[in-house]
């Protein structure tokens, strides 16, 4: 009888088998054992590897919960209704609340950071969504491949630019440009009535809520565009051709047929972008101005939970009781809950509609 190598014909021979034939039965048994062994090795190593992300996830949540527990107990619900980050006096007596040691005068409130996180996230999504749909439409339906390929790749590159580089550009170039040429004009034309007066007032030097949100837009547009373009390509041609046959223009086909066809997929992609925006740290830490208050107007400096976790580390380490780092863990836990929640909803929506490859980048 022929061996597996002989039958495989053009395929290269396995390195663990001697090339000569005929083969003694003993060698064939050894080769057979190695073959079976190889399958087993693949199966077992893959089985171990696939469990590791789940283990890491459980580990991360447990570590955060254990570390944050004293802070959750002491900070209580007031944590969500006030805004302060006071580590307390390093020289005064250590006091105990509910058995948890912390420096005298320490008080923490995450409200402003929470509001800042949601504000940057939602402004970014509001701006990014129409832009992404427009980009996806132009790339898939209107432009010739010789133009849409390089442009699509440029958008992909934007997703790959490190957030610290976008932050540097935002704080040195983009922010000052906006504060000088764009923000004053917006502030000037906005009427002085409720809601719109949020766009009035001092525009600052370009470090703040709006600049941060706009840089987030650049980070999430590639995610939403890539997913939306994929969805557009999956829309079957017949309904679109039917629309054209009825005399619809391409814009009408897009707004009446293509976009409604993939609506929930777009919603899911947008939620993925929102999750990415909420978790972004370094760029916001560089551009937001890092001030702990709820922004009085859209240009003013502020901060987010993610940015505060990174900017407050060194001061928190001065707290010898460790209460400040426990509070940081509580903030990290809140951030994780929000972004995982957003992410799960997004995946559920996308999963319900279609199976598509992810976009470039994490969180996609």
């Amino acid at each position: 009888m022929t061996t597996a190598e002989g039958a495989a014909g053009g395929l290269p021979a396995a390195p663990d088998a001697a090339p000569q034939a005929p083969r003694p039965p003993a060698l064939r048994r050894v080769v057979g054992a190695l073959r079976t062994g190889e399958t087993g090795a693949w199966k077992w190593s893959a089985r171990v590897a696939v469990v590791l992300p789940a283990v890491a996830l459980a580990f991360a949540v447990t570590v955060l919960a254990v570390k944050a527990y004293p802070a959750i107990e002491v900070n209580g619900w007031h944590f969500f209704t006030g805004s302060s980050y006071k580590i307390g006096s390093a020289y005064a007596q250590t006091v105990r609340t509910d058995g948890v040691a912390h420096p005298e005068g320490s008080s923490y409130g995450v409200l402003a950071l929470l509001v800042g996180t949601l504000q940057t996230g939602f402004i970014a999504v509001l701006v990014a969504l129409p832009i992404s749909i427009g980009c996806a439409f132009a790339l898939t339906e209107r432009l010739h491949p010789w133009l849409s390929r390089p442009l699509g790749f440029t958008i992909e590159l934007l997703a790959g630019i490190p957030s610290v580089v976008l932050g540097l550009w935002g704080v040195l170039t983009f922010g000052p440009f906006l504060a000088k040429h764009v923000y004053p004009a917006i502030a000037h034309v906005m009427p002085n009535v409720a809601f719109f007066d949020w766009f009035k007032g001092t525009v600052g030097h370009g470090e703040g809520l709006l600049t941060g949100s706009l840089v987030l837009v650049l980070m999430i547009v590639p995610i939403i565009t890539a997913t939306t373009a994929d969805l557009f390509r999956q829309v079957p041609p017949l309904p679109k051709e039917g629309g054209e046959a009825l005399g619809m223009t391409d814009a009408e086909v897009a707004s009446r047929i293509t976009i409604p066809w993939v609506r929930s997929g777009i919603v899911g992609a947008t939620a993925l972008g929102l999750g990415r925006a909420i978790g972004e740290t370094i760029a916001i830490a560089m551009i937001s101005g890092s001030i702990l208050h709820i922004a009085p107007n859209i240009y003013s400096p502020m901060s987010t939970i993610a940015a505060a976790i990174v900017t407050q580390l060194s001061s928190s380490l001065t707290d010898a009781t460790g209460f400040a780092t426990a509070t940081l863990a509580e903030m990290a836990l809140i951030l994780a809950v929000i972004s995982v929640g957003v992410n799960l909803v997004a995946r559920w929506i996308v999963h319900r509609t279609s199976r598509i490859g992810g976009a470039v980048g994490r969180g996609a």
Partner: protein, 289 residues
């Protein structure tokens, strides 16, 4: 007539809007790339790449080596685990949509949505302080790997699913064992997709800052060769994050240099990924598949 006019206006506005949207994205993308080069180029000297980092003088040798070592470590750890996990999800698990595999896939998805700063803080609490490893290479590597494993697993799974099942059936009909056909037939066909995913994961880890601040901190000294024990080391992203704000002109220039080198690394990785994808597509088209 009024309706026709309105339709025309809508169509024109829609078309203008889509091109405008494209312009709004492409302009800053080019602006960032050109801007980084424009900041760094005037004071650029090639020898910063191999000059050690010292206050107010010196180059970015240490941070560059740190970033490259981090990438190599992530390639080794996350590459192995991610590809194996992807193989399990696509090839070896019995059911796709139900049972333990779907739960493991979901855990991986949830992990990929975890903000990197949260993972960094977990690394700080559990590894740097909890296990007394101190700020050093191993905690940084582990946290970066945890970050990108879900991404590599997902792209590997997607690549494997695109391999036609006739390949596997053919291999089985020829008497190949599952492991042998996986190695010589299935993985070979999926290799371009898998490599692309790994390259993008490397680009992500090269550009990450937040989790490294909490696990490696920063030091001007080059990596000393030890994995744990409080041996802080330098990496490029941290230089971009802090040095631009320093009072000394030389330090500011170093942060621009670091940003440009970082962008160059990421560009090389993403362009290679794109070339691999384009080549494979052309190959597949020429075979009529």
């Amino acid at each position: 007539m009024r309706t026709a006019g309105r339709r025309k206006v809508f169509t024109v506005l829609f078309r203008v809007g889509t091109y405008l949207a494209l312009g709004i994205v492409i302009t800053p993308a080019v602006w960032v790339l050109v801007g980084v080069v424009a900041k760094a180029a005037p004071g650029w000297q090639w020898n910063v790449l191999w000059t050690p980092l010292v206050s107010n003088t010196g180059g970015i040798e240490g941070p560059l080596i740190g970033t490259l070592i981090l990438m190599a470590g992530v390639l080794l750890i996350a590459g192995t685990i991610g590809v194996l996990a992807g193989i399990h999800l696509a090839e070896l698990s019995k059911s796709v949509d139900r049972g333990p595999s779907s739960w493991l896939r979901m855990a991986s998805d949830v992990l990929s949505g975890f903000p990197s700063i949260v993972l960094g803080y977990v690394g700080y609490v559990a590894l740097v302080v909890g296990l007394h490893w101190g700020y050093s290479l191993l905690p940084a590597l582990l946290i970066l790997s945890i970050m990108v494993v879900p991404y590599i697993a997902k792209s590997t799974e997607t690549a494997l699913r695109q391999v036609p099942s006739s390949y596997r059936e053919g291999a089985e009909a020829l008497g190949m064992s599952t492991g042998f056909s996986l190695r010589r037939v299935v993985l070979k066909s999926a290799a371009p997709g898998i490599v692309t995913g790994i390259l993008i994961a490397l680009a992500i880890s090269a550009g990450e800052t937040a989790p490294l601040i909490y696990t490696a901190n920063f030091s001007q000294t080059t990596w000393t060769g030890s994995f744990i024990g409080g041996h802080e080391f330098g990496y490029l992203t941290y230089m971009v994050f802090t040095y631009w704000d320093e009072p000394f002109k030389h330090d500011v220039q170093l942060s621009y240099d670091a940003a440009m080198v970082l962008v160059a690394i990421v560009l090389i990785l993403l362009v290679s990924a794109r070339i691999i994808v384009a080549r494979t597509q052309r190959h597949a088209e020429s075979r009529g598949g």
